[in-house]
Structure formats: structure tokens, C-alpha cells
């Protein structure tokens, strides 16, 4: 699937129930056109990971996901030799009185492909989407390793040689900014910061994702969350929380927000005791009054 204009891509994302603003659509469009990795940053729960999933669906291709964590190494991210099979192979040959050769032992049959190698060695006609999620959780060593991969789309395995992608995968990297990613890595990518959405956009997202939610409920929940983002909270609720909350209220058969249900379900959107105490105090009532007046 090819997109000729940014408008076309934006509309296509909409069909997948992903509401992207012009800035994000431009960044994604350019990532596809220039075949450059796209680096997405933003507060938790604004739909960074979702971009990759939607893109894979849209292009009818595979999503290869690598969740980062501290200490993530080549053996878990790129490749590993299947030692058990190698051992069995040696024993088998031995029982026949033969000697194993290096070339066969370190051949493709014994290679376990991890996400990054899969993305480079894909065999399908459609280029896969490679999602490197929460890069800020990994450490400097892994970041340095990514430099080679992201600039040349190639991986070097000592026993086999250098493997280069015939067509580079579409790469999306995400970060929650729990630490700064090194400039050298960012320089190889397109960068986009995803903001919290405007009220209209967020209502559109709720409608797209949860078409069965009552219109009034969706409006009120969104307005409430939008107001909450101006309160001095330790952890602000993202779009993911808006959707979760709407889902929860639909499950409770609510048609509109009431103070009682807000109190009962605060745990869905706020995850810190201090924040819950603060909102329960008087803030929830004030916000609700303001919304109802509109």
C-alpha cells in the first residue's frame, strides 16, 4: 500500500480507528517515504505504541516488537545459537563415527532469530514494522548497538558474516523519557513529540475506539480527564486512561458521570494514593460541576 499524500495517510489511519493530528501524520509519512526510523516521545498513554500496531494493520504486514529492558543484550535482541540442537547434532554424528564441521554447526539451521534479526531477514513481500518499545528502559550498551542497525540496517554475526536487509523495515522507536536517549541515536531518526490531545480529538478517539459508549458519557469522561490534566497530579492520566475509564463506566451501565461513580472508579484513572486523595477532596466535585454547567 502506498500513500501519495499526507492527507491520504491521515484518512487511512482514521479507518483503523487511529486519530492522528497533522504533525504525527507528516512524521509517519516521511518515515515511510524516506525509509528512516521514527522516534516517538510523549507522556505515557498517548498512543505511541499504538502507531506501530496500526501501521502494521494498515500495510497488511507483520509487527515485530522488541520490548526494551535494562541489560537487554544481543542474545535476546538479535540472535542466539540453539546450543541444545548443536550438542545433539555433535552426539548424533559421533555415534555414526563422524566429526562435526564448524560450517554446518554454525549454519542457519541452528540459528534462533530474535526480533531485530527477524526484521532484517524478513522474507515476505511486505516490509515488516519493527517496534522498539520503551527504549529509555534499555541501557547505553544497547543504544550503542542500535546505531549500526538503524543507520545501515545491517547486523554482523561473527560466524556467518554481515546480514543486510534487502529492503529496510519500517522502524518505530518509543520512549517515555525516563532518561534522555543519546543524541547520536536520535540524529538517525525522525523525531516527533506526541502531545495530549485536544478535547475534540480525544472525543473522536473515544468514539472511534468505543463506538458503543453513550455519547453523553464519552463527552463527560473526556471533559473530566481534560480538566484533570490541569490539576497538580503526580501522574497525569493519558488517553489510555480515558478509554479504560469509559470502558469501565460502560460495563457499569452508566449513561452519564455522577459524583458517586467518579469516586468509586477513580482507581481506573489515578494510580497514586496522593493523587486519589487530592482529587477525592473537592477537586472531583468542582470539575464535575464545571462540566455539567457547560
Amino acid at each position: 500500500m502506498h500513500f501519495e499524500t499526507i492527507d491520504q495517510l491521515q484518512a487511512a489511519l482514521q479507518t483503523q480507528n487511529y486519530v492522528a493530528d497533522r504533525g504525527l501524520a507528516t512524521a509517519v509519512y516521511l518515515a515511510l517515504k524516506l525509509q528512516r526510523p521514527l522516534f516517538l516521545e510523549g507522556e505515557p498513554g498517548v498512543g505511541k505504541t499504538e502507531v506501530a500496531k496500526v501501521l502494521a494493520d494498515l500495510l497488511h504486514t507483520n509487527l515485530i516488537r522488541l520490548q526494551c529492558y535494562e541489560g537487554l543484550d544481543v542474545n535476546h535482541a538479535v540472535y542466539e545459537w540453539n546450543y541444545t540442537r548443536q550438542m545433539l547434532h555433535i552426539r548424533l554424528l559421533e555415534s555414526r563415527g563422524q566429526q562435526a564441521q564448524d560450517v554446518e554447526l554454525f549454519g542457519p539451521d541452528f540459528l534462533l532469530e530474535r526480533p531485530l534479526l527477524q526484521a532484517i531477514r524478513h522474507r515476505e513481500t511486505a516490509v515488516p514494522v519493527l517496534l522498539i518499545d520503551e527504549l529509555d528502559r534499555s541501557d547505553d550498551e544497547f543504544e550503542a548497538f542500535l546505531l549500526e542497525l538503524l543507520s545501515d540496517f545491517q547486523i554482523t554475526i561473527p560466524e556467518i558474516g554481515t546480514i543486510k536487509a534487502t529492503r529496510p523495515p519500517i522502524v518505530i522507536l518509543t520512549s517515555n523519557r525516563t532518561r534522555e536517549i543519546h543524541d547520536a541515536l536520535k540524529r538517525r531518526c525522525l523525531y516527533h513529540w506526541i502531545e495530549y490531545p485536544t478535547f475534540e480529538k480525544e472525543v473522536a478517539i473515544v468514539h472511534a475506539k468505543l463506538p458503543h459508549a453513550p455519547a453523553q458519557l464519552a463527552q463527560e469522561v473526556t471533559a473530566f480527564i481534560q480538566e484533570l490534566r490541569h490539576v497538580d497530579l503526580y501522574k497525569l492520566p493519558g488517553i489510555a486512561e480515558t478509554l479504560d475509564w469509559t470502558k469501565a463506566l460502560v460495563a457499569l451501565d452508566q449513561q452519564a458521570l455522577t459524583l458517586e461513580t467518579v469516586y468509586d472508579t477513580l482507581g481506573v484513572i489515578l494510580k497514586y494514593q496522593d493523587d486519589i486523595a487530592l482529587v477525592q477532596d473537592a477537586t472531583a466535585k468542582n470539575i464535575l460541576d464545571r462540566i455539567k454547567r457547560k
Binding site: 497533522r22 517515504k33 524516506l34 535494562e70 543484550d73 545459537w81 546450543y83 532518561r179
Partner: protein, 398 residues
């Protein structure tokens, strides 16, 4: 952008790139080529598309977004309102060191080169006196000497066991790759079991310094102390100062010269010698910075005299949160140097249960003690531990 003379576009783009670079943004010829490449694919007549294209290719730091926006608005404005693109943004242009310093230096009148002077080191006894003299009582000349001694102190901070392993040693993890290699040599017999051991890395250091009115006699020397600490440690150091609000000064500390760094900091900070609201400052830190800089077992140095005019409950809550999210919280108090001092202020009382170490910082000797104390955290192989919060934190007086 819809000017008929599109030959100017390339020229203007390059000028724009130069403007961004002069503002301190990381824009190189490579990214400009990418931008020109990318513009083939977008409708540049549409201002927003042009803007987003340029932004996604030229900006890769959140902090630079605002700067870029301003530069963009100014540079690509309508030609009728044309004005020279000066005075954009807040980042100061590099300024040379003040001329009076250079003119004061003696110069060789023939070659016109400065004559280098070697500072005569003070005698032992003088140094001993200086070591124990309170920072607030130093004369300008003595402060200069103390500065030099400060730069000579060697700093070492505890190490943290990372989740990454390296070859060798006799750790708990088997190195399967090398085990298999050995097996090949012995024809399929497992004789050797090479292992992998955890890697250690220095802990990040966070410094929060009080620059309110009551701390004024110490401020200048403490900033120098922070500078020499940041320069002397290899790991990540993030520094903040506060009196009524919190200011991030890590970038300024990276300057190679102390005087330049101090000048940059004084320009950045707007609340010198103001009142103290430690609780509020810590809250800003916890909410806006904590999650970004406190990861990976950080050690926090809080420098303050504890004279807090804010709400003690807020201070208690926020210092508790800070304490729970760092590896070790060290409070440095210049007043602790006085033998009569008791931590009785409301602020100190609220904070004490949440402090791991309570140490003086009022003279050179106390800084040397601090260096020894920090170096003592180097517990390799052991898991981090924290003494039970008994309410009576470790108090050390010199």
C-alpha cells in the same frame, strides 16, 4: 513560502539551518540534505506541512521544540514584515571572557604573550587553618585558595550492579556460547564451564542546592563545590538550585571554565537569596524531574540549612517520596559545623526521619570527610541496603 522565485528556497533553507545552529541546536549539513530530500515529497505550499517536515528532521530534543518554533515563525514570516532574525530564543550566544581579566594579566612586552604565573602553595600550617575555617568567614583571597584545594579533591561514588553481564569471573550465569566453543575442542565433552559476572557502573548523582537568603554566605563556594564535583565524576550528574522555585543548572555546569559556568548560572537563576520553600522545590523536582533523573539507583545530595518557610507537612511528604525513589539521600547542612547546632527547625524536624546521612558542609575538612564517606559506598557484590528509618539519622559532626 509561495514565492515565485523558488531558486531562493535552497538558499533560505541553508540560512535557516545556520540560524538554528547558532541557537545551539544540533543541525548539521547531513540533516539539511535530508530536509531538501524530504521536501520533494511534501506540498511545500502548505505552511504546516513544511513546518512539520522541517521540525521532524531538524529537531530531536524536546527542549529544542520551543526554540525551533520561535525561529521558524521569525524566519519564515511574510516578506513584507521582514526584519533581521536577531534576538531569537533565550539561549545566550557564546560570549568571550570578560576583558578585564585579560588586561590584568601581565604580558611579555616583546612577544605580547601572557607570562604564566605559578601560584606559590601556602605553607602546611596555613592550609591547616584554612581547612577548618568556616566558608562564611573566608576572605576573597582565602576563598581563591580554597577553590584550588576543592578542585584537587578526588571524588568517588558508590557503584551499582547492572543487569548486564560480562565474560569471565565465577558468577552465577553460565556463558553458553563459550561453553559450547570449548565443547567443540574436546569433541563433545563438557569439561569447562565458563561463566559470566555482572557488570558494575557508577551511580548517578543528583544535587539539590539551597540558594536562599540564609544560605548566602555559603552559596558561591557551594556552587564551586558542585562544579568540581560534576567535573570530577565520570557518571551522570544532574544539578538543581532552589530558593522559591527550582532551576535546572546541569547544562551550565558542563562549561569548561568555572567562571563561565557561574556566570551562566547566575543569569539563569532568578530567585537568588529569596525565601526558602524546600517542600515546594522538592515537589517540583519529584513531579517534573524525578522520573527522568532518579532511575538507576541514584544518590541524592541535598544542600540546605533547613530554614524552611513553607508548609512542613508538604516537606515531610515530598522528602518522603524523594527518599523512597533514590538509593541514598544525603543532607549536607553548613550549620551542622557549629557544635551548638541542634536540628530543631520545623523543616529539619520534618525531614530528619527521611534522611540517610546528615553531614556538615561548612569547611574544607568537612568536604574531605564527605569524599571519604561517599567513597565508602563502594560495596561491590552486595545488594543495596538502607538502615531502618529510626528517626535519628546518622549524624556526624566534625
Amino acid at each position: 513560502m509561495s514565492t515565485p522565485n523558488s531558486g531562493n528556497l535552497l538558499h533560505n533553507l541553508l540560512l535557516f539551518g545556520r540560524l538554528l545552529r547558532s541557537l545551539g541546536m544540533d543541525v548539521n549539513p547531513g540533516s539539511m540534505i535530508d530536509l531538501v530530500d524530504a521536501l520533494q515529497f511534501v506540498e511545500i505550499g502548505r505552511r504546516s506541512d513544511f513546518y512539520f517536515t522541517a521540525r521532524s528532521l531538524l529537531v530531536h530534543r524536546y527542549e529544542d521544540l520551543l526554540l525551533f518554533d520561535r525561529a521558524f515563525a521569525l524566519f519564515w514570516q511574510h516578506p513584507h514584515r521582514k526584519s533581521a532574525p536577531f534576538g531569537v530564543g533565550e539561549r545566550p550566544f557564546p560570549t568571550p571572557t570578560p576583558p578585564n581579566q585579560q588586561t590584568n594579566k601581565p604580558t611579555n612586552q616583546y612577544t605580547n604573550t601572557p607570562i604564566y604565573q605559578i601560584h606559590a602553595t601556602r605553607t602546611y600550617s596555613q592550609r591547616e587553618i584554612l581547612r577548618h575555617k568556616d566558608f562564611s568567614e573566608l576572605t576573597a583571597d582565602e576563598a581563591q585558595t580554597v577553590r584550588r584545594f576543592m578542585a584537587e579533591l578526588a571524588w568517588e561514588l558508590g557503584q551499582r550492579r547492572t543487569r548486564r553481564h560480562k565474560m569471565g569471573g565465577n558468577g552465577n550465569h553460565l556463558d553458553l556460547r563459550r561453553t559450547f566453543r570449548h565443547t567443540l575442542r574436546t569433541g563433545g565433552e563438557l569439561l569447562k564451564w565458563p561463566r559470566r559476572t555482572p557488570k558494575f557502573k557508577p551511580r548517578p548523582l543528583i544535587i539539590l542546592a539551597d540558594i536562599s537568603g540564609s544560605m548566602e554566605p555559603y552559596t558561591r563556594l557551594l556552587l564551586q563545590f558542585i562544579y568540581s564535583l560534576a567535573a570530577g565524576l565520570t557518571q551522570n550528574v544532574a544539578a538543581f538550585v532552589f530558593s522559591t522555585h527550582l532551576t535546572h543548572i546541569t547544562r551550565q555546569l558542563r562549561s569548561r571554565e568555572l567562571d563561565r559556568a557561574l556566570a551562566d548560572i547566575s543569569r539563569q537563576v532568578t530567585d537568588w537569596s529569596g525565601g526558602t520553600r524546600i517542600g515546594a522545590a522538592l515537589k517540583t523536582f519529584n513531579y517534573d524531574w524525578g522520573r527522568r533523573v532518579l532511575g538507576r539507583g541514584a544518590v541524592v545530595l541535598l544542600i540546605s540549612d533547613g530554614w524552611d518557610r513553607g508548609d512542613p507537612d508538604l516537606l515531610r511528604r515530598e522528602i518522603g517520596r524523594l527518599h523512597r525513589s533514590c538509593h541514598r539521600l544525603i543532607w549536607l547542612n553548613p550549620l551542622l559545623g557549629s557544635p551548638r547546632y541542634q536540628p530543631l527547625t520545623r523543616g529539619m524536624q520534618a525531614a530528619l526521619p527521611h534522611i540517610d546521612d546528615f553531614l556538615p558542609v561548612h569547611n574544607l575538612a568537612s568536604l574531605e570527610d564527605l569524599a571519604t564517606h561517599l567513597a565508602g559506598f563502594v560495596v561491590r557484590g552486595k545488594r543495596p541496603f538502607r538502615p531502618k528509618p529510626t528517626g535519628a539519622a546518622f549524624v556526624k559532626k566534625s
